[in-house]
Subunit: 945 residues, 2 copies
């Protein structure tokens, strides 16, 4: 927990440091208005003691209410008792400053004056709400009391004044219920299974013969009120206080006490909120939207939060309270209809909409109430939005000169850019569909198709023109062709970084993985979830944004950005989304310092990546193409060879297709650099899954008995293959494997160069732990290069390359100074570095990571977002060590983290030269890199103006 | 390579720093005698220009020859051309200092005078040897020329003088052969498969009709000499130089040039010898042991190097040259017989023996030659010896006041102490046995028995009184009973840290593991190696010192130390070895600062460990007792449970036997502290190997269908179990597993305490990566402890324990400051820290570690001796981080490295409080810890006087 606290403390310090860079004006206003000895800050009637900058003193809610009042938005008057009072209360044995009572009394009078009502009055009574409000929102953690100020006399006055006795008595019983439980602590006792207030209400409903609370008459409610009072007296031994001022004291006290209830403490620990901050208490005049046909209530966004379109978006109800809109008992009307129902209020609301957007310079999510024709704004906050909306709104606002480009860039959550790239479901159709399971949303997008349980069947079905969903417990490189053929991939095992997820993201495939609540029977070819069993060929739909799995087909299509960018469709290019996306991307490139490369293994992927903005390849893996056609036969022959001669024979065949691949990649790169990783995976991966039939088939091809093949497969099996005979360990055991790859790379480079295309191969040695490993492999590479040059009659300057290494083992990061002596570049392999640094298998961790997130050990999956406090320190050691020997050493990162915004920002701060990620993540990385550069200047979201 | 060089440079600096602490006298003498402009240092006739301290200038060989001469030992006279000349030669375009020739000439005269012979003389010619000699020995890397100074005239003089024409001509042809190839570079050319000199010799032998060189007559050899000369002329275009002085110049030149030949460069890189050191050249008078019945040659040790007994030990031959003793063509005689054959020389040799031991204060390994009754010493150096001899000699020499206790301690290689603990084979019987394979020497000692291929069969056979060798491809916890029952363990897979090796060492069992050249057929129950196939029940013998495997039985017995210490046998206690061992151990305890604990899992092991000197338990693992009796049923029931209730039921049963175990351990400890590690291994380990029969059996016991058991086993399978759901991850997923263990520990502690024995449980949480994991587990432990106390009516002070963690994941080491906030102690789990820090699976690395040692990536197995440059840095980070928060944090280490001397010394330097190792390694650890404390004071072997 201490870690979390520390981080929070650091964050707080950082934040305040950032605040210090803000406009001096705002700072002065906050400082100037916070006066010593002033414990209560009033707002209302177009002015306020405080303002929006005073969140530390007034809490978020209080500061925003003051701000709205200041800019002339109609807000029910009220006052904030400051967080200083909370601190004083806890520092002084739960006592209050002496002048507090007088200050409260003084400000009640101000509120009464503004609202034209009087607290406790028997003609026109003012009712109050009492709410908590800390510096950062802690939704639902602390206490709230509404309708405060009613008693046996006031309720009658309220009934008379409103002409609505039922409303008056219902408000009274609600107040008693809240006050009794929160302030007087009369709640369900140990052994009591039902809330005692609800028991009384249920009895009343039974007696009246109605089903809902709303069915109770004023008289029924009067009886309920009597019974509530008796319950409170009976259980607490005290009378419910009739005096409104005593009620207020009790309520304020309860809210301050709730700062230290169990829920609040746990919440603060979770989000790293210091206990010393304390909460403010907001006391505000109640307004009612349920007092007749000229009253109402609603919620709205100043623009459409789904599309970002600049239209007023929301819904309302006539003669209703706030919770009725949300509860769904009555169907709210679209906001536009308000123009007819309540034309005056609607006009007013339109003016306020513009005013708030202009003032807060962002889309606002507002709540409002109309009480007898009078519009009151109850809340405003920045509205949450989809990725589409985020881009649209940000770019529109730049055009509208509401915000600058930098602010637009900071405001779009980089991850949400992927929404613009992924195919989408129709939302109504999705709601209607039968959900049969859920897993991790590993490849964003939406896909429907027929399910198949093997790569072969998927390929065959796709060849027949079927839309395919490949369903596997987990995927391996052998499933690659099936994955390519499929529209979507579903696995029941593995996490967000499993093979399925990794490949799916790279290919931009829709993928839901680790759907543990579903099961596969390969023999029967069935998929079962939520009681539904699907057979091979049945339709299934995947929502890769959220990880939902549905039976049946749901319609989807590629996004406009993809249609424009990759499919070069003119119509899509004319779309607003496409244009905005392209404009945003062009801005990011001017701001970012990090280079952006791609992890791509085929010429097609490279072409895509370049369209997405890649400036080169950060990682290409020869082995990802080993399963194409019958290449795997040669690979297997090489692995199964029991002497150098046999290995050489197979390597010769492998070299042919490797060279062809590299030529394609170099051509596609058209002069951009390419980091090529030498063979990395454990050899068993290429042979471990062979069936008897495949063994027999291979046996005939390579002249080795099937039983010898089985023996060799057995001898290559490893207990922990991730920590086994792989990476440069293969190259050290079998230098010919390294040499063959280098020949293929350099011969390909020479041939492509000869046709006028520049080639910059960066040969990367994987899994180095010891500097000596790199030294040995570099020697093999250099010697092979000399031979290739000699053979081709080229000078050293005519066939260039560099040699570098992955930093993916803790030892290499720790001894980076030694490793750097033999390296021209480093590329951090953060997937393996996470596995080894945390002692955590990517493939096996999904079984307990959920428990870890529940127990708050982890807030993120460390394979998706870099563990900055641990693995990040290894990266920093690697940077420091490497640059201590070679100050200009080129540093990159090619793990999956290269496409994760938080990680990209970390790599920027760590001083890397570039990040590399799968093609479809490149826009995200570009945006995150630009954000990182802005943040380095001390800018933060909402602070550029 | 740079790393190696750097280390070497550091080592060199360190060494010279150490040298600086040596007696000032020696330092002065070395400095005083090294005069500027003096390039040649002569020795002979009881004096010398240099001495043994001048190794940097004179090289090791030259300095030692001077030293022997100085103390009056008869050494053939000679002189050293210094290493400065070598440096000058390379710094000045292969030219020599101007005064060198004159200095050489001057010293030839001195040698001539001492030897009474003249170089190039035609009556009594002096022959010379010319040898390299660097500061550190580089055996065989540089060039040597013998018999220099012969030509067509001298050979006749030699024949006349010795009356042995064959000897003279044979010397001449040998000289030509050496000089021709080394100096004149006439060697086999490209495409020539045979050495041209040997071709000529073969032709001569064919012509003479003899098989061996020795069969050739003087006349035959004369012809060979002519042909050699013609060959040299023909191929080099130059005449062989008849002038002895020209010969000498050529030879010296060749030796200096050989400092930079390929072999020497590679060797220097391997052992980190700087090129700048250069080599010296030693020119020495030849003496001949093959000139008749009053001549001879021999090798000897001043004490028996096998037993350490203070007897003269060696062998000799009359009328022979040095290489004849080694070559085995003639059988040498035991040295004692020399008293009859050559009484005068023998007496002289005895005097020299005493003199050398007294002077060098250690056992000497000498070579000598007697030329016509005159004894010459050709070499002396410290003798290599067995562990038995090392202990005997060191302790005898302390008694003899030759050395101090500190020197005795520094002189015994700590690892060799294990020789005193292990059973032994009769060496003659071993030589006669049929070797059928070899593997890693994993458990020292010697064992013979009948082979069995499963734990059950081993147990059954042992129960019948058979001596058993358990033969497995690899072992698992399930084999434990079989291992206990066996005398020795042989595996065909796995390395020095495999389960088999680990358990064998802990139990002190003889073990050979990873015998890859042998194969097992479990179905046929056969073991095959070296063409021999053994069946179940056949006799096999294992030499665990060297890793040899033999068919048949070879007799062995426990060592005297074990008989005395563990079996309390009076006869053994009276033995000299036992007494010396005990005395040595008592010395170490006074010197060492590191505490010594044991890794033990049973009361019996704890009792043994205490007898070996353990001061507590550093690691006890509950799971190591899970396979005893039918306990495994409850463990499996716990693992297979699919809800909390089922798990609780099984845990209740487990608690019963765990508590019993802990009570036994606490009693055995008798007040010493015990670090108890909570359950660590992946659960699959306990169920993955179940047979169908076992599943059926368990199904009936726990009421779960066999197919459900199979499904659950399948679902628990992990790709990389070492990085999977294990350690504290289990405790976080299932807090009840942690709570049950804590209940068992604390209830056991309370019951043992109640009977008056102090108990100090230190509860250790395994596999922590995040501080939060430890925080969560500590909370479970503390809450459980409160419940136990409440139940037993004990106050906090009446039932104490501490909570700490393993540091075995890089992240924990890196974030040790955060982890330490929740820890009362750290214990470095260097096995796992090595696996994760190097990304290297302990079980899988044996397939490529040999290639790594060949390629000089590793000099040691990192699972046996700590990788100080990488994993060691993680340990240092852990120490620094932990102590930054808690300056007095108790730090220990419980990996296998706790019993490795180099690692123990590292842990001493790193500031740990204690090391923990398996019982049989405790004496080694005690000695190494004492050595570490001495080394900290700047003392080194041979430097205490």
């Amino acid at each position: 927990m201490a870690t979390v606290k520390k981080k929070a403390a650091k964050k707080a310090v950082k934040k305040s440091a950032k605040k210090a860079t803000k406009k001096t004006a705002a700072k002065k206003s906050a400082a100037a208005k916070a006066k010593p000895g002033k414990y209560v800050y009033v707002w209302g009637d177009g002015k306020a003691d405080g303002d929006g900058s005073m969140k530390a003193l007034l809490g978020g809610k209080g500061a925003n209410l003051a701000e709205m009042s200041n800019i002339g938005v109609p807000v029910p008057a009220g006052f904030t008792i400051t967080t200083e009072v909370c601190t004083y209360y806890y520092d002084n044995g739960k006592k209050y400053p002496k002048t507090l009572d007088a200050q409260i009394e003084e400000n009640i009078a101000k509120v009464e004056k503004v609202m034209g009502k009087k607290f406790g009055d028997l003609e026109n009574p003012l009712l109050l709400s009492v709410r908590s409000g800390a510096r950062e929102s802690m939704p639902g953690m602390m206490d709230t009391i509404l309708n405060l100020g009613i008693n046996d006399e006031v309720v009658e006055a309220l009934a008379t004044k409103t002409g609505n006795a039922k409303f008056a008595w219902d408000s009274y019983r609600r107040f008693l219920q809240m006050y009794g439980s929160v302030v007087m602590e009369v709640e369900a006792e140990a052994g009591e299974h039902h809330d005692p207030y609800e028991v009384i209400l249920d009895e009343a409903k039974e007696k009246a013969g109605v089903k809902d609370d709303s069915g109770l008459s004023a008289d029924d409610l009067r009886e309920v009120v009597e019974k509530f009072k008796a319950l409170i007296k009976d259980r607490s031994g005290k009378n419910f206080p009739e005096d409104p001022r005593a009620q207020l004291k009790g309520a304020v006290n309860a809210v301050f006490n709730s700062w230290n209830n169990d829920r609040a403490i746990v919440y603060r620990q979770k989000y790293g909120i210091p206990a010393a901050w304390g909460t403010a208490v907001n006391v505000q005049a109640m307004v009612f939207g349920n007092t007749g046909k000229t009253s109402g209530t609603g919620v709205a966004f100043t623009r459409d939060p789904a599309t970002g379109e600049n239209v007023f978006y929301g819904e309302y109800l006539i003669d209703a309270q706030g919770e009725d809109v949300v509860a769904g008992v009555r169907t709210p009307k679209p906001i536009a209809k308000m123009a007819k129902d309540l034309p005056k209020s609607y006009k007013e609301l339109q003016v306020i909409r513009k005013k708030l957007e202009k003032h807060f310079r962002d889309v606002q999510d507002v709540e409002f109430t109309i009480e007898e024709g009078k519009l009151w704004m109850l809340q405003t906050r920045n509205g949450k939005r989809t990725g589409f909306a985020a881009v649209n709104i940000a770019l529109d606002m730049v055009k509208e000169r509401l915000i600058k480009k930098e602010e637009a860039i900071l405001r779009i959550p980089a991850d949400d850019l992927s929404h613009l790239l992924a195919p989408i479901f129709d939302s109504k159709a999705e709601k209607a569909a039968t959900k049969v399971g859920s897993g991790l949303p590993a490849g964003p997008g939406a896909a429907s198709g027929k399910i198949y349980f093997s790569a072969e069947e998927s390929v065959a079905a796709a060849a027949k023109g079927e839309s395919v969903i490949l369903v596997r417990q987990a995927t391996s490189p052998e499933d690659l062709r099936g994955m390519i053929a499929a529209e979507g991939i579903l696995t029941t095992e593995g996490g967000a970084s499993s093979h399925a997820a990794l490949v799916a993201r790279q290919m931009g495939k829709v993928c839901v993985c680790g759907a543990h609540n579903m099961s596969i029977d390969y023999d029967k070819k069935t998929l079962t979830g939520n009681g539904v069993t699907l057979n091979e060929g049945d339709e299934l739909s995947l929502n890769g944004f959220v990880g939902s799995v549905y039976a049946g087909e749901i319609q989807s299509s590629p996004s406009q950005v993809i249609q424009g960018l990759l499919e070069n469709k003119a119509a899509a290019k004319r779309s607003d989304t496409y244009k905005k996306f392209m404009e945003l991307m062009s801005w990011t490139d001017k701001l970012r310092k990090l280079g952006i490369r791609t992890n791509s293994d085929t010429p097609e992927q490279v072409e895509q990546a370049i369209k997405f903005g890649a400036e080169g390849i950060g990682l290409t893996r020869a082995e990802h193409m080993f399963f194409e056609g019958n290449r795997i036969d040669s690979v297997r022959e090489m692995i199964l060879a029991d002497d150098d001669e046999g290995r050489a024979k197979a390597l010769k065949k492998i070299k042919v297709f490797m060279k062809k691949d590299f030529k394609g990649i170099f051509k596609a790169l058209d002069g951009r650099p390419a980091t090529i990783r030498l063979l990395d995976p454990p050899l068993h991966e290429f042979i471990g899954t062979m069936t008897d039939e495949q063994k027999q088939d291979l046996s005939e091809k390579i002249g080795m008995s099937a039983s010898d093949i089985t023996k060799r497969i057995h001898s290559l099996h490893e207990e922990n293959p991730m920590l086994g005979h792989r990476g440069c360990r293969l190259g050290i055991s079998y230098p010919a494997i390294t040499a063959t790859q280098v020949e293929a790379i350099l011969e390909a480079a020479a041939e492509v160069q000869a046709k006028g295309t520049k080639v910059l191969p960066e040969i990367m040695v994987p899994l180095v732990s010891y500097a000596r490993e790199l030294e040995i492999q570099k020697q093999v590479i250099d010697e092979t290069a000399d031979e290739v040059r000699k053979k081709l009659g080229l000078k050293k300057s005519q066939l260039k390359y560099t040699v570098g290494t992955m930093i993916e083992i803790p030892r290499a990061a720790i001894t980076a100074d030694e490793v750097a002596e033999h390296a021209e570049f480093f590329s951090f392999g953060t997937n393996d570095l996470t596995q080894t640094g945390l002692g955590l298998s990517r493939d096996d961790s999904s079984s307990f990571l959920p428990a870890y997130q529940d127990a708050e050990v982890l807030s993120n999956n460390p394979f998706a977002s870099l563990d900055q406090g641990g693995v990040g320190k290894l990266v920093e050691m690697g940077v420091k060590g490497g640059r201590s020997v070679k100050p200009k050493l080129k540093l990159g990162i090619c793990g999956e983290h290269g496409g994760d915004p938080d990680s990209v920002k970390f790599f920027h701060r760590a001083g890397l030269n570039y990040v590399s990620c799968s093609p479809f993540r490149i826009p995200v990385a570009r945006l995150a890199a630009a954000q990182a550069a802005l943040e380095e200047k001390g800018l933060a979201r909402g602070e550029v103006s």
